[in-house]
C-alpha cells in the first residue's frame, strides 16, 4: 500500500511537470491545440490525486464520528533521493553557545544529531496533503479547461498552459513536500509562477508593474520563511517533517514526526518558538495576502482571469493556510503567536471587506473578497483548536470552489464584455448570459454565507471556533476530558497560575504554554521577572476579551461580505441591460468549454459544504493528519455539533448585508449614484484602500529609493570609482609600456640586446672573483 501510494503520489506533481515541459517543447507545433499536454497532465494528476484521497480516506477508516477517539495518524513518506548531504553542517560551538545565549534549550532528541544536514527529496501523503492535492489539481483542471475557451486567441497560448501546469506542479510539490527546505523551494516556485502569470501580458505596463509588485511584496514574506527555516534547523537539527529511520537503527526525529508529536514537551516555545511562528506568520501573510502584505493581490488581477481564479483565489494564496496548519504543533506551543494569527486575520478580513464595498471593478471586488476570506481562515487558525484548524481547511475547500467559480464567472463576463470589467459600464447581464448569471449567483450565495450553500457551513464553523475561544465557559461541557489532561503533575505549576487568572476553568492551550516555556509564562504573570516583557505582552493577548472582539469583527465582516457580494451581483446582472461598446456584437453567453467548469463549480459550491458538514467527513479525516494529532491539539477536539446560535447570528449578518445591497442596487442602473456617497470621509478611506499603498510609498518606497540613490551614488562614484581607478593603473601601465611596441624591429632587437646585457652583467657581477 505504502509503496504503491507513494508511487502514485509522485505522479501528482510529475504529470503536470511533464505536461508543462511538453507544452513548452511542442507548443509551437501544436498551435491551437497547445493546451493538450498541459490539460492532459493536470487532468491525469487530478485523477491520481482523487484516487489518493480515496485511498487515504480508506486508510483513516471511518473517519467520521467520534472525535474523542484517539486518532491514529496516517502518514506515508516516499523518499525519492537525497538532494544534499553535509556531514557536519553545524560547527559544534554554535549549539553550545549560540542557542544557549538566546535562552532556548535545544529540544530533546536533537542534540545527538551531530549537526548532520541532509535534504531528502521526500514526498508525504497524509489527509491534509491529500485534501489539498485534490483541490489543487481539481480546480487546476477546471481552470485549465476554462482557459481553453478564455485564452483561445492569445498569442501566448502555449506559454499560459505551460505556466499553469508548472504552477500545478509547484503547488503540488509544496503541499506534498515533507521538508521545510523543499517547502521553501516550492514556495518560491509558486511565487515565480504567480509572477509570470500576473505579468503574462508583459507588454502591458500595469501588468508588468503588478507582477513586480507581487514578487517584491512576496519577497518580504519569503524572507520570513527563510529565517524561520534557519531557526528551525538551528533549533531542531533537522528540517524534515517526518522521522527518519537511519540504517544504524537510530531515529532522527522530524519536526512534525510522530515521536516528537507524541511528546508533550517536544516543541520549543518562548522567544525562539514565538520568533519562528511569527516569521512563519509573516511568510503566510505574504503568500496569502494578509495585512500588511496584502497590497499585491488586488493588483495581481492584471493577469489573465483564469490565473487569478486558480492562483490568486483558490490555491496559491492558501499556501499560507497550509503552512500554518502544517506547523500547527509549533504554533500551539506559542499562544501569543497564535493570537497574532487571529488578530491579523480578523483585521485583514474586516479591512478588505470594507475596501471591497466601494470597489467598482468586478475582479477587484473578488480580489478583496479573497483577502477577506483568507483573513477569515487565519482567524480560525489562530484559535489553535482542532475545531479552528478543521474550520480553516473546510473554508479553504469551499472557498476554493466558490471563489474559483466567482472568478471564472467574472472572467466569463469580462470575456463577453470585450475586456471591460468596470461594473458601472454594464448591467442586466442575466438576460445576456444566463448560465454565467446563475452560477455567479450560486457562488455569491456561497460567499455570503447563505444557507445551505457551502460558505454558510464553513463560515459557521469558523465563527463557532471563535465563539468557543471567546466564551470558553459556554463550551465547557465539550472540554470535559481536557481538564483531566491538564492536571498532570509536570504541568501543574503553570496550569495553576493560569487557572488563577481564569478562575472558571483551566484553559488547555494555556497550560500547554506553561509546559514548554514555563519560565516565560511565569514572567508573564509577574511571578518572576527578568525575561523579556514583549513576549509576555504577546501571550497576554490570548484572552477571552480579545477573542470576543475578534468574534464580533468576524461577524461584521460576514455582513459586509454579503453586502459587497450582492452589490456586485446586483450591479452586474440586474437592472436594465447595458453592454459597453468594446463588447461589439458578440455580447453573448460564453462557449460551453467555459460554462461547463462554471456549472461544475456551482454544483460543488452549492452542495459540498452541506455534504461535508452533514457527514462530518472532513474533520474526521483531517484529524488523522500527523500535525493535528499533537496531544495538546487533539485534546481540543470537540464533538460534532451544529451551533444554532452562531448560525443564526451569521445568517442574520448575511441577511442584513444582502438587504442593504438590495436596497442600494437591486434593479438600478449600475452607473447610478453609489452607496458610498453615504459613507462620507470613510468612503474616501475605503476607496483609497486605507491608503496602504500611499503609506508604503511614503514609509518604505520613498526612503528606500532615497537610500538606493545614495547607495547607487556610493556604488557608482566610490566603489566603482575605486575599482575603475585600480583598473586604470594597469591600463596606464599598459598605455605607457605599449608605446614600446612601435613596430620597429630594430627597437625590439635593441630591447632584447639590452635585456641580455643586463643578464650577463648580473651574472658577471655574481661570478666576479
Amino acid at each position: 500500500m505504502q509503496s504503491s501510494a507513494a508511487n502514485l503520489l509522485v505522479l501528482v506533481p510529475l504529470l503536470p511537470l511533464v505536461g508543462a515541459i511538453g507544452t513548452v517543447l511542442l507548443g509551437r507545433r501544436l498551435g491551437p491545440r497547445a493546451h493538450l499536454p498541459a490539460v492532459a497532465g493536470i487532468g491525469a494528476a487530478a485523477v491520481v490525486a482523487f484516487l489518493l484521497l480515496l485511498g487515504t480516506a480508506n486508510q483513516v477508516g471511518g473517519g467520521h464520528g467520534d472525535p474523542m477517539r484517539p486518532v491514529e495518524p496516517v502518514e506515508m513518506i516516499s523518499t525519492l533521493w537525497q538532494w544534499a548531504t553535509v556531514g557536519d553542517a553545524r560547527s559544534g560551538d554554535l549549539t553550545a553557545t549560540g542557542l544557549e545565549a538566546v535562552g532556548a534549550p535545544v529540544a530533546p532528541g536533537t542534540a545527538d544529531n551531530g549537526g548532520a544536514f541532509s535534504i531528502p527529496i521526500a514526498l508525504r501523503l497524509d489527509p491534509l496533503t491529500a485534501t489539498l492535492l485534490t483541490i489543487i489539481t481539481g480546480v487546476g483542471l477546471l481552470v485549465a479547461i476554462y482557459s481553453i475557451g478564455y485564452m483561445h486567441d492569445d498569442p501566448g497560448y502555449p506559454r499560459f498552459f505551460a505556466l499553469v501546469a508548472m504552477f500545478v506542479f509547484s503547488m503540488s510539490m509544496l503541499v506534498a513536500a515533507s521538508n521545510f527546505l523543499l517547502v521553501y523551494v516550492f514556495w518560491e516556485a509558486v511565487g515565480a509562477c504567480s509572477y509570470l502569470l500576473i505579468g503574462f501580458w508583459y507588454t502591458k505596463p500595469e501588468a508588468a508593474r503588478a507582477a513586480k509588485k507581487a514578487f517584491l511584496v512576496n519577497r518580504v514574506g519569503d524572507f520570513g520563511l527563510a529565517i524561520a527555516t534557519f531557526l528551525l534547523w538551528m533549533t531542531y537539527g533537522t528540517l524534515d517533517f517526518h522521522d527518519t529511520h537511519l540504517a544504524d537503527g537510530t531515529i532522527v526525529e522530524g519536526i512534525l514526526g510522530q515521536i516528537r508529536l507524541a511528546d508533550e514537551a517536544g516543541y520549543v516555545g518562548g522567544a525562539v518558538g514565538t520568533a519562528i511562528c511569527l516569521l512563519m506568520l509573516l511568510a503566510a501573510c505574504g503568500k496569502s495576502a494578509q495585512m500588511p502584505l496584502h497590497v499585491w493581490l488586488p493588483d495581481a488581477m492584471e493577469g489573465p482571469t483564469p490565473a487569478s481564479a486558480l492562483i490568486h483565489a483558490a490555491t496559491m494564496v492558501t499556501a499560507g493556510i497550509y503552512l500554518i496548519t502544517r506547523s500547527a504543533p509549533l504554533f500551539v506551543g506559542c499562544p501569543g503567536a497564535l493570537t497574532m494569527v487571529s488578530i491579523v486575520g480578523a483585521t485583514t478580513a474586516l479591512v478588505a471587506a470594507l475596501i471591497a464595498t466601494v470597489q467598482n471593478d468586478l475582479k477587484r471586488v473578488l480580489a478583496y473578497s479573497t483577502i477577506s476570506q483568507l483573513g477569515y481562515m487565519f482567524v480560525a487558525l489562530g484559535t489553535g483548536t482542532m475545531l479552528g484548524f478543521t474550520a480553516a481547511i473546510f473554508h479553504l475547500l469551499t472557498h476554493a470552489f466558490f471563489k474559483a467559480l466567482l472568478f471564472l464567472g467574472a472572467g466569463s463576463v469580462m470575456h463577453a464584455m470585450g475586456g471591460v470589467i468596470d461594473m458601472r459600464r454594464f448591467g442586466g447581464l442575466r438576460q445576456v448570459m444566463p448560465i454565467t448569471a446563475a452560477t455567479f449567483l450560486v457562488g455569491a450565495c456561497a460567499l455570503a454565507g447563505v444557507a445551505p450553500f457551502a460558505g454558510f457551513f464553513s463560515k459557521d464553523e469558523i465563527l463557532a471556533a471563535l465563539h468557543a475561544k471567546a466564551h470558553p465557559e459556554a463550551h465547557g461541557s465539550d472540554h470535559a476530558e481536557a481538564g483531566s489532561a491538564g492536571e498532570r503533575p509536570r504541568d501543574l505549576s503553570g496550569g495553576v497560575r493560569l487557572a488563577t487568572s481564569l478562575p472558571s476553568r483551566p484553559f488547555r492551550p494555556a497550560s500547554m504554554i506553561t509546559r514548554t516555556s514555563r519560565t516565560d509564562a511565569a514572567a508573564a504573570h509577574g511571578v518572576s521577572s527578568g525575561v523579556s516583557h514583549e513576549k509576555v505582552g504577546l501571550d497576554a493577548l490570548d484572552h477571552p476579551s480579545t477573542w470576543r472582539l475578534l468574534f464580533w469583527m468576524s461577524l461584521l465582516t460576514a455582513g459586509l461580505t454579503a453586502f459587497y457580494t450582492f452589490r456586485a451581483v446586483f450591479m452586474t446582472f440586474t437592472g436594465p441591460v447595458r453592454v459597453p461598446k468594446e463588447a461589439g456584437h458578440h455580447a453573448h453567453e460564453s462557449p460551453s468549454v467555459m460554462t461547463m467548469p462554471l456549472v461544475v463549480l456551482a454544483v460543488l459550491s452549492a452542495f459540498a459544504g452541506l455534504v461535508l458538514f452533514a457527514t462530518n467527513a472532513l474533520s474526521g479525516f483531517l484529524a488523522a493528519t500527523p500535525s493535528l494529532t499533537a496531544p495538546a491539539l487533539a485534546r481540543t477536539a470537540v464533538p460534532h455539533v451544529f451551533h444554532w446560535d452562531i448560525a443564526i447570528q451569521g445568517t442574520l449578518a448575511a441577511a442584513i448585508g444582502i438587504a442593504v445591497a438590495a436596497i442600494g442596487h437591486l434593479g438600478r442602473r449600475s452607473d447610478s449614484p453609489q452607496m458610498e456617497r453615504y459613507l462620507g470621509p470613510l468612503g474616501g478611506l475605503f476607496a483609497n484602500k486605507f491608503y496602504f499603498d500611499q503609506i508604503y510609498a511614503a514609509l518604505i518606497v520613498k526612503p528606500l529609493e532615497a537610500l538606493s540613490l545614495l547607495t547607487a551614488f556610493f556604488d557608482r562614484a566610490i566603489v566603482d570609482g575605486t575599482v575603475d581607478a585600480i583598473g586604470q593603473v594597469p591600463s596606464a601601465w599598459g598605455s605607457a609600456i605599449r608605446r614600446m611596441q612601435s613596430g620597429l624591429v630594430q627597437r625590439y632587437a635593441l630591447a632584447g640586446v639590452v635585456g641580455v646585457l643586463a643578464i650577463v652583467l648580473a651574472l658577471a657581477w655574481q661570478l666576479r672573483p
Binding site: 620597429l744 630594430q746 627597437r747 635593441l750 640586446v753 639590452v754 646585457l757 658577471a764
Partner: protein, 284 residues
C-alpha cells in the same frame, strides 16, 4: 711567448675608459641628424683610443715583430668593420665590408686556417657580397637615401655594444691572466704533437699519410707560424677528412639546406615574375 702574461689584470679604469670612449665614438660616428665634420673626426679619434684601450686591455701587444702581420690584418678588419657600420652610403658600406673580409681572411690565414681564409673570400666576397652590391645598386642607384643618414637609437645601441665589448674583453683578459681552466687546456695528444713538430717538423704523424703527395716542405705564404707548427701543411686535407668523416651527415644537411634555400629564393622571385608576365600577357 709566455702564454700567461705577467702584466697585471686589466685595470678596471682602463676598461671603463675604453668602453666609454667606444660608446662615444660609435655614437659620434653613426649617422645622425646632428652630424658635423668635427664630431666625426672626434669620433674617429675616440674610436682609435677605444680600440687601443681594448687592445691594451687584452694585453696582447707584447711582440710587434712576430705579430706585425696579424696586427695589420686585424687592424684592417676592425677599422673596416667600424667603417662598414658608420658609412652613410650603403655601397661604401659594402666596400668596407669587403675590406673587412679581406682583413678577416688575413686573420684566418695568420691563424693557420688557409682553407677558411680563402673560402671566406670566395664565398663572401666573391658571391655573397657581389649579390649584395648587385641588389644595392639595383634598388638604390643613387647610393644614399634619407634613411641612410639617420640611425635608430644610436646612443643606446652604441652604449650596449660598447658594454658588451667591455664584458667580452674583460673575460678574454681574465682568460689569459688566469691559469687556463681544465676545459681549455690543450689535449695531451695535441701537446705531444706540438712537441714532436718542434723537434722534427717533417715527422708529424698526422701528415705522414699525405707525405707522398706533399712535395713541398713547410714554407707558407703566411709568415706567422708560431713555433714552426707544421700541423697544417695539409690543412685542407685534414679539414676535408674531418668534414667528410666525422661530420659527413652535417655536410649533407648543409647541402640540402643550400638546395632548399636556392629553391626557395627562386620560388619567391619567380612568383613575382610570373605576375609580371601575366601582366604583360594581359596587356597584349
Amino acid at each position: 711567448m709566455d702564454p700567461v702574461s705577467t702584466t697585471a689584470a686589466p685595470s678596471g679604469l682602463l676598461l671603463a675608459g675604453s668602453v666609454a670612449s667606444l660608446a662615444a665614438a660609435l655614437w659620434l660616428l653613426l649617422p645622425k641628424a646632428s652630424d658635423t665634420v668635427a664630431s666625426r673626426r672626434l669620433g674617429f679619434l675616440l674610436g682609435a683610443v677605444a680600440l687601443s684601450g681594448f687592445a691594451a686591455t687584452g694585453r696582447s701587444l707584447g711582440c710587434v715583430g712576430e705579430d706585425a702581420v696579424f696586427l695589420t690584418v686585424a687592424g684592417i678588419a676592425v677599422i673596416s668593420g667600424l667603417a662598414t657600420i658608420v658609412t652613410r652610403s650603403p655601397v661604401y658600406s659594402a666596400i668596407w665590408f669587403a675590406m673587412t673580409l679581406a682583413g678577416v681572411s688575413g686573420v684566418l690565414l695568420v691563424l693557420g686556417a688557409q682553407f677558411l681564409g680563402v673560402a671566406t673570400i670566395v664565398v663572401y666576397a666573391g658571391a655573397i657580397l657581389v649579390m649584395f652590391l648587385f641588389v644595392l645598386m639595383l634598388a638604390q642607384p643613387s647610393g644614399m637615401a634619407p634613411y641612410d643618414r639617420v640611425s635608430n637609437e644610436p646612443m643606446l645601441a652604441a652604449a650596449a655594444g660598447a658594454v658588451l665589448l667591455g664584458l667580452l674583453t674583460l673575460s678574454i683578459g681574465r682568460l689569459s691572466a688566469a691559469e687556463p681552466p681544465a676545459c681549455c687546456r690543450m689535449p695531451s695528444r695535441a701537446q705531444a704533437v706540438a712537441a714532436a713538430s718542434v723537434v722534427a717538423p717533417s715527422t708529424d704523424a698526422a701528415s705522414k699519410d699525405d707525405a707522398s703527395k706533399d712535395d713541398e716542405s713547410a714554407t707558407l705564404i703566411a709568415p706567422a707560424q708560431p713555433g714552426g707548427d707544421t700541423g697544417d701543411a695539409n690543412e685542407v686535407a685534414h679539414l676535408g677528412a674531418e668534414l667528410f668523416g666525422r661530420h659527413l651527415f652535417a655536410v649533407e644537411v648543409a647541402g640540402v639546406l643550400l638546395l632548399v634555400a636556392l629553391v626557395g629564393a627562386i620560388a619567391v622571385v619567380s612568383r613575382g615574375e610570373a605576375t609580371e608576365t601575366d601582366h604583360r600577357r594581359e596587356g597584349r
